[in-house]
């Protein structure tokens, strides 16, 4: 892994550790309203300042990060799981089943992603599970397509033929012999996609379709404070920069993983 990849990984670990230990290390209660210190500028008392209700922005950013990161990571696993199974079957079985599955995949890929995610988040009651489902409902398709393409190549390899000759069942060939071959591809893909999922989560929260108040995520914090952007810009800037930095680290990590495994994935 290159230097950029390593730095991004360390930063991600650092951000996650901070967010996950939020209840222990955050200096204030994130939801505690303090009307004596409304919109205090960042300083020693409040590291990232306070918001329009006097809540400590630093504590809120820490707590919000926990939700944002968990949602994005779980959504990535969910999309990966669905995409992996469907891609494996589609690529391995081939023929008409493959054509049919790929038609469905194309249907999902041709949907502007955020619109579909919005659709899902509107149907289900707003909340973090809905955001995960919304992201996965769109995300599985690109996993399925790339894994299917990979399986099409790998299934012609001699070791697959050998496994079949030895009398392995279809299921065994599929899950014991072929699936592990996809691991590098899956890891790289998850790295590449996670940055985007962080952004989608933030966008859905920004639109009010994510975690509901008083719980805050980075996206909903930016959304709630955007009318104060000129009087108290720190309310927008800190959660906003956290989104950007986390997404940037995931993107850089994904890129360097891709280069390391020598995979050619353009997007």
């Amino acid at each position: 892994m290159g230097k950029t990849g390593k730095i991004s990984l360390y930063l991600l670990v650092f951000i996650s550790l901070l967010s996950f230990s939020a209840p222990l290390i955050s200096p204030y209660d994130p939801d505690k309203i303090d009307l004596d210190s409304i919109k205090d500028a960042p300083g020693l008392q409040h590291l990232f300042g306070t918001d329009n209700k006097g809540r400590d922005v630093f504590s809120r950013v820490l707590h919000g990060g926990r939700i944002s990161i968990i949602v994005a990571v779980l959504a990535a696993f969910l999309s990966m799981g669905i995409g992996l199974v469907i891609g494996l079957f589609s690529g391995y079985l081939g023929g008409k089943i493959d054509t049919a599955i790929m038609a469905i995949v194309d249907l999902f890929l041709s949907f502007p992603a955020l619109l579909l995610a919005i659709g899902v988040s509107v149907v289900l009651p707003p909340g973090i599970y809905t955001v995960m489902i919304a992201i996965a409902a769109v995300g599985w398709a690109s996993f399925a397509r790339l894994i299917r393409g990979y399986i099409l190549i790998v299934k012609e390899a001699p070791f697959v033929e050998a496994a079949k000759a030895l009398g392995c069942s279809q299921t065994r060939v599929l899950f014991i012999h072929l699936m592990p071959q996809c691991i590098p591809l899956v890891l790289v893909l998850m790295g590449l996609k996670l940055g985007g999922y962080i952004l989608t989560e933030a966008s859905l929260s920004f639109l009010g379709l994510g975690a509901q108040p008083p719980a805050a995520t980075w996206g909903s914090m930016v959304s709630a404070s955007r009318s104060y952007i000129s009087s108290a810009p720190w309310m927008v800037l800190f959660p906003g920069f956290m989104i950007a930095i986390t997404a940037l680290c995931f993107n850089a990590l994904g890129d360097s993983l891709r280069d390391r495994y020598g995979l050619k994935i353009k997007y």
């Binding site: 249907l107 949907f111 940055g195 950007a244 997404a247």
Partner: protein, 310 residues
């Protein structure tokens, strides 16, 4: 070519049926009864029944879907539950605004994206290349709503150069277009760079150099022509990101287009509006993909189309 086009067009039908049934089921299972939100929870039962009947929501779901499709074919997307205006009229009146925004964004993204990608590829490995490459990853990692707010804060609230929000002439268009163009611009710069670098290493470039063709001609005629395919794909695919981004950008800048219309529909749980927006959005996206497929053919005769050689 004709056979190919017809096949492609026929493929659109199941796609659109798929999309409409998805949007239909999505919006039908929505929480909250729109009838109540129209007349209030304490309305007379007869009034509620009457409205239900008008909306057709008392009938079987398949009949409702068929009725919906029939209306769609007539270009009728139903009426908004709130304004009682026809959704199609609103969509048509707002579409030019979104189109203006998307075109503005596209012009910015294509010109700057290609330019930066070209410089980056040409000077690969240098400091300039690294700066451009890191900038494009960074821009890709900033959510549209944040870049929008930052651009608004800086250019209209601090420098007071341009109006922060509203719909109108070019002055109102610049900031939202720039915001909307950013992710596409960065993607384009990245793809242009990788593709050009690949093409630079191809044997025909060496041949061209060996023949003594000038560097400028090699770069702009030989290389660019061969690199265009993936670039055009990305330009087309980015149209989807414009549609996505339009929802956020238009909401932030108060631009009266389809994106903000969608958002208002979501907030008010206005089913016909949401369905109409999603269907129109998807249809536009699908049509653009079709146009790109056709463009491929004219750009690169190597692309074999369906129905040939069979």
């Amino acid at each position: 070519m004709k056979v190919y086009l017809i096949k492609k067009l026929l493929l659109l039908i199941p796609l659109l049926i798929g999309v409409t049934s998805i949007t239909f089921t999505l919006t039908k299972t929505l929480p909250g009864d729109p009838v109540y939100s129209m007349v209030g929870e304490r309305a007379q039962p007869e009034v509620i029944e009457k409205i239900r009947k008008e909306l057709g929501s008392d009938k079987n779901i398949i009949i409702q879907y068929l009725g919906y499709i029939k209306l769609l074919i007539k270009g009728e997307f139903g009426r908004s539950y709130y304004t009682n205006r026809k959704v199609i009229d609103d969509l048509l009146s707002k579409f030019p605004n979104t189109l203006k925004l998307a075109l503005g964004a596209m012009i910015i993204a294509i010109s700057f994206g290609l330019f930066l990608g070209f410089i980056s590829a040409y000077k690969r490995g240098t400091f300039t290349d690294r700066i451009i490459s890191s900038l494009s990853v960074t821009v890709l990692s900033i959510p549209v709503f944040l870049s929008g707010l930052l651009i608004m804060l800086f250019f209209s609230l601090k420098l007071k150069l341009l109006p922060p929000s509203g719909t109108g002439d070019l002055r109102f268009l610049i900031l939202p277009s720039v915001t909307l163009s950013l992710p596409a611009l960065a993607t384009l710069a990245r793809i242009t760079r990788t593709t050009l670098i690949e093409v630079f290493d191809m044997p025909f470039v060496t041949t061209a150099k060996a023949k003594g063709i000038g560097e400028l001609k090699i770069n702009f005629v030989h290389v660019l022509k061969n690199a265009l395919i993936p670039i055009v794909t990305v330009i087309g695919l980015d149209f989807g990101s414009y549609l996505n981004g339009a929802v956020l950008t238009e909401t932030i800048f108060g631009w009266d287009g389809i994106g903000r219309f969608t958002m208002e529909g979501i907030i008010k749980r206005d089913y016909p509006v949401i369905m109409g927006c999603i269907i129109v959005g998807t249809t536009i996206f699908v049509i653009i993909n079709l146009i790109i497929d056709i463009l491929y053919h004219s750009l690169d005769p190597r692309v074999r189309l369906y129905g040939k050689n069979r």
